[in-house]
Structures are given as structure tokens and as C-alpha cells.
């Protein structure tokens, strides 16, 4: 069993080393930059109301400079990582074997193709999970640093780009790439198709889940900003208790927008409270994870039926 894992990892040695090295670099850099941001001490400046320290302007400049020049690019890398990991580890798994003809050796030695598939797939999927999970942790840390005074465990800031969902994104991409590889039997077309279909698929599922979650929104007083809530919609509350949007307000009080000051009606927000972050995150992870699982299972069927090429 250990030998089998060792051999599978050896077959993907280049991709593994490259992706692990890149992830390690991004991980260390993210923690370092997060530390730098915290060290500026900008936290007290980032409040909605109340007194702020005198030197906030210069602190602000320093803080934003680090965020723009260092944190921002890192977020870019972190966004790419789960896609790259899933594609480059999952894509060649079966397609390269078919392309190079080694499936003819493997499937004539091993009477059980299912066992062969598991011996190849499980270690690589585990590797994808570990690498992307690390990326998710780094993203969490960095997000916390750029959102001072926000408890990111209870906030929707950066939803989908940090934490558990990074690993799940990687797994979905990997599962899709493995499956497409079994169908096409060619590495480059697999990577291209998996990139396109995977991105579209994940975006689609995310959108569907967002719409579904929006149906669970609740009303809270005031603007949503700064509480970590997920914004769904915003209304004005009229004196008679009705809720109207901008158009409704214009009907009710046409002059409201003409006046110089802000319309003097209380704002009410339709939100998903930040406290539900973990719950929503987990639910999305389960849906995407289930899709990944189905794809991996479907690939087992394809492997049983297809010619070795």
C-alpha cells in the first residue's frame, strides 16, 4: 500500500513539487504580510464612529500601501491556486497514462481496474486537499489582516476565496479534470476543457446557492457594512412602517432626493447575518463536495468501460 502511494506520487513528481513549492511560498508570504499589516496598528482607525487616533492618515497610507502592493497580489495567487492544483494534478492522472500507453500495461497486469483507479486517484486527491487546505488557511489569515476589527469566523468577507471552500474548489477541479481525462485520453485538451467547464460549473453552483441563501435573509436595522453580514438588499422604513426602495421613496416623498442632506428615513438591510458564515460555508462545501464525489464515482465507471487507447 505504501509502495503504491509512493509510486503514484512519483508519477506526478514534477507537478507535486512545483505546486507544493508555490503554495509554501504563498503560505509563508501571506502570514508574513498579515503580520506586517497587523503591526501597522491601523485597527483603531478602522471604526465606523467614535474617536480615532491622531495619526490615522499616515497609518492609513502605510496600511493601504502594504495591502495594495503585497496583499493584493497574494490574494491573486491564492485565487488561482485551487484551480491550478486541481487541473495540474488531476488533469494528467488518467489522460497521460492513456496518451503514453501505460494503461495497456496497468490494465493487463491488474485484474481489477477499480482497485487500480483508487490506488491512483486517492493519493492525488489527498494531495490536492492538503495543498488547497493550506492555501485556504493562508487566505483566512490574510483576510483577517485586511479586515481589522472584523471577526472573520463570523463574517462573509471574502466568502468562497478562503478557508474550507478553497480546498473544496480544488477538489471539484481535480475531480472534473480526472474525469475529463478519462474521457478524452489527452492531457492538453483535458486541462483546457476542465478549466473552462470547471470554472463555469463552480460559478454556476455558487450563484445557485447564493440565490437560495438569499431566500433566508433577515431584516436588521441600519446599514449592513462593517458587521460581516452578507448584503442582499436595502430599504428605507417609512413612518408608517412600510419598507420601500429608492423608487418607492421617490413616489412617496418626491423631494427626498432633491434635498442636500441624506434622506431622513431609517435604513433597513436585508442580510444574511455574519454569524451564519460557517453554516453557509459548510453547506456550500457539502454541495460542491458532493458534486466532486459524484464525478469521481462516474470516472470509475468510465475507467471500467473504456479502451486503454
Amino acid at each position: 500500500m505504501r509502495d503504491s502511494i509512493r509510486l503514484t506520487l512519483k508519477m506526478h513528481r514534477f507537478e507535486l513539487i512545483a505546486l507544493i513549492a508555490f503554495t509554501a511560498f504563498v503560505f509563508v508570504a501571506a502570514f508574513w504580510v498579515a503580520g506586517q499589516l497587523d503591526a501597522v496598528g491601523y485597527g483603531p482607525c478602522a471604526v465606523d464612529r467614535g474617536p480615532v487616533p491622531a495619526n490615522c492618515e499616515s497609518l492609513g497610507r502605510e496600511w493601504y500601501q502594504i495591502q495594495e502592493s503585497q496583499a493584493s497580489p497574494l490574494f491573486g495567487f491564492l485565487a488561482i491556486l485551487p484551480f491550478a492544483t486541481g487541473l495540474f494534478l488531476g488533469g494528467p492522472l488518467i489522460s497521460r497514462e492513456i496518451e503514453r500507453g501505460t494503461t495497456r500495461l496497468a490494465w493487463s497486469i491488474a485484474p481489477s481496474r477499480l482497485r487500480w483507479y483508487l490506488s491512483r486517484m486517492l493519493p492525488i486527491v489527498a494531495a490536492v486537499a492538503v495543498v488547497t487546505f493550506a492555501a485556504g488557511i493562508a487566505a483566512d489569515r490574510l483576510t483577517a489582516a485586511i479586515s481589522p476589527n472584523v471577526d472573520i469566523a463570523n463574517a462573509f468577507d471574502g466568502f468562497g476565496q478562503r478557508g474550507l471552500l478553497v480546498a473544496v474548489t480544488g477538489l471539484v477541479m481535480a475531480a472534473g479534470a480526472i474525469g475529463l481525462g478519462a474521457v478524452t485520453g489527452r492531457v492538453l485538451p483535458t486541462v483546457i476543457l476542465a478549466l473552462i467547464l470547471g470554472t463555469l460549473g463552480i460559478t454556476g453552483v455558487t450563484k445557485l446557492h447564493d440565490d437560495f441563501t438569499a431566500g433566508e435573509a433577515i431584516l436588521v436595522d441600519g446599514e449592513y457594512v462593517g458587521r460581516g453580514d452578507r448584503y442582499v438588499d436595502q430599504f428605507f422604513r417609512l413612518s408608517d412602517g412600510r419598507l420601500v426602495d429608492w423608487n418607492g421613496l421617490a413616489e412617496f416623498d418626491p423631494g427626498a432626493m432633491m434635498r442636500e442632506e441624506e434622506p431622513n428615513y431609517p435604513i433597513v438591510s436585508l442580510v444574511i447575518p455574519g454569524s451564519r458564515y460557517r453554516e453557509v460555508e459548510t453547506r456550500q462545501a457539502v454541495v460542491l463536495g458532493g458534486i466532486a464525489g459524484l464525478m469521481l464515482a462516474g470516472t470509475a465507471v468510465i475507467v471500467q468501460r473504456r479502451r486503454p487507447g
Binding site: D3, K10, M11, R13, T102, R104, I109, P111
Partner: protein, 288 residues
């Protein structure tokens, strides 16, 4: 004689029109080393693959030691030692890795046996497959198949692109191993001298069908060559015509006629018969 490999009415179609095999009947007896000869596209590879379940027949049936690879692929694979057409080794893995791989995936794999063959040839175990010569890679493929201790060996063009010395060494290992284990081997090859050295039986395929299936001694004893326009004995059966290296037309005959045919000429004559409209045209044009 028990038949370890059988095909009955076997047909395989790719796409909508291309039949690689068509209504093929053949039998390979236990203990024989049989050669499979035929043009590319005649279905040799397809046939070998069918017995290990890599190809599903369109029509007909086949059996390997009585097992139907369509119904019971795992069992069919388990009685076969298959040497795929090169290249089939994992480039980045070493020879030792390949043995480990086979031992992990194949119940009953005999590591010592496989290692023994490679050791005798001084093939380094810690070399990556892509560092080995073509001949060494072929020997690794053979050692892995022999290591399964399968009673039936199926070899798909194992000697292609190997130099004469590498081919000789491969055949020597194969013949010795098969004789020692009492197993059966079917190998496809294009080189008749190799077939003469290693095989006792011969199957010629053409147009997806079996054109000839005999022992080699019968093949040679049972055919003759008539040159050019020499008179043919009455009752002798014409097989086919083809050019000689000097440009004369040779005709293969069944039975006592002309001079004894070489095995190569027997094969070529039947191949020529297997595609009826080509040889005549080729000679006419070229002679011009």
C-alpha cells in the same frame, strides 16, 4: 490438444464501416508458440487486446482458457500475461518500481522470477524506463508478463523496432520461459526469420479473417513456388502472386508444385491472396 485461445465468428467494427476483424475463427493449442502475421489494420492488435478485455467484440465470441473476457474481464486478465505494443512503461519509474507496481496490483506476481530474468540480462534495476534502450524496455515488458506466471502469454509486436541482437535475446528468453513453464504464447510479428526461430505454429490474418492457420512444418511442406510463367501442375491450387526481389513474378501454390517455398514466401503468398485486387496492378505499373 486443448485450446487455450479461441475465437468464433469474431468481428470488430470501428465507427460505422471499418471492420478490423470479420467472422474470424481460430484456435491456439496449449503449449504452442504461435505467430500472428498480417498487415497493419488486419486486426492483430485488436485480437490480442480482445482476449484481455481491452476491446469488445462487435460480433462473435472468444475464450481464453474457457473464460469469456466480455463477461468476466477480471478473470481473463488474471490468466493472461500481456505484453503491450511499445511504448508502455512508465517513463519516470525505475525497473524496480515497475516490479513493485506489478506485485502490488497482480495477485500471485512472482517478483523473484521477474527479477531473475532481468538480472540475467544485466538490466539495471535502478534505471528509469526512459533511460533504457528499446531492447531493454522490451525485456522489462516481457519480464513483467512472465512474472505474472500466467499460462497464456499475449505479445503485441514485441520485436518492432528492435535490432537483430535484441530480438534474438528476447526470443531466447521467451522460448526458454514458455518451455520451462509449459505455458502458451501468441505473438504478433512482421519478421519471418524470428518466427522461424521461435514459433511452431503460424496464423496469417488478412482482411480481418484468418487466411492460414497451420504448424510451421506443415506450412513449409505444404507449399511450393512457381516462377514466372512456368507451367503449373494440374490440380495444384494457386494461393497468390507477388514480386520477387529480382522483379520476376512468383506464384505460391498449395501442394507439390515448383520448388519448395520458404516460410516467408508462404506468408507473403497468403497475404497477397488476402487482398486480391492489388498485386496484379502493382506488377503491371512497376514493370513499365
Amino acid at each position: 490438444m486443448t485450446a487455450v485461445l479461441e475465437a468464433t465468428g469474431l468481428g470488430k467494427r470501428y465507427g460505422r464501416r471499418r471492420w478490423a476483424l470479420r467472422d474470424l475463427d481460430l484456435v491456439v493449442d496449449e503449449g504452442s508458440i504461435t505467430a500472428l502475421v498480417g498487415p497493419n489494420g488486419s486486426g492483430k492488435s485488436t485480437l490480442l487486446k480482445a482476449w484481455v478485455g481491452f476491446e469488445r467484440p462487435t460480433t462473435g465470441t472468444l475464450r481464453i482458457r474457457g473464460i469469456d473476457p466480455v463477461r468476466n474481464r477480471g478473470a481473463a486478465v488474471a490468466v493472461a500475461g500481456y505484453v503491450p505494443q511499445a511504448p508502455s512503461l512508465y517513463r519516470e519509474l525505475t525497473v524496480e518500481d515497475h516490479i513493485t507496481f506489478a506485485a502490488y496490483h497482480r495477485p500471485g506476481f512472482d517478483r523473484a522470477l521477474a527479477r531473475g530474468y532481468l538480472d540475467d540480462l544485466s538490466i539495471p534495476f535502478d534505471s528509469r524506463a526512459d533511460e533504457l534502450s528499446g531492447g531493454q524496455q522490451a525485456q522489462v515488458g516481457l519480464a513483467l508478463a512472465l512474472g505474472t506466471r500466467a499460462p497464456v502469454l499475449l505479445l503485441d509486436e514485441p520485436l518492432a523496432s528492435l535490432d537483430p541482437l535484441a530480438r534474438r535475446e528476447f526470443l531466447q528468453v521467451l522460448v526458454e520461459a514458455v518451455r520451462a513453464a509449459g505455458s502458451t504464447a501468441l505473438l504478433s510479428s512482421h519478421v519471418i526469420t524470428d518466427i522461424e526461430q521461435a514459433c511452431d505454429s503460424l496464423i496469417v490474418l488478412g482482411g480481418g479473417r484468418s487466411l492460414l492457420a497451420v504448424s510451421i512444418s506443415e506450412a513449409i511442406a505444404g507449399h511450393g513456388i512457381v516462377t514466372g510463367d512456368e507451367p503449373r501442375p494440374i490440380g495444384a491450387q494457386v494461393v497468390g502472386s507477388f514480386p520477387s526481389s529480382t522483379g520476376e513474378r512468383l506464384t505460391l501454390m498449395r501442394g507439390l508444385a515448383g520448388r519448395p517455398a520458404t516460410l516467408e514466401e508462404v506468408v507473403i503468398g497468403h497475404l497477397a491472396a488476402g487482398r486480391p485486387d492489388r498485386p496484379a496492378k502493382a506488377e503491371r505499373k512497376v514493370a513499365a
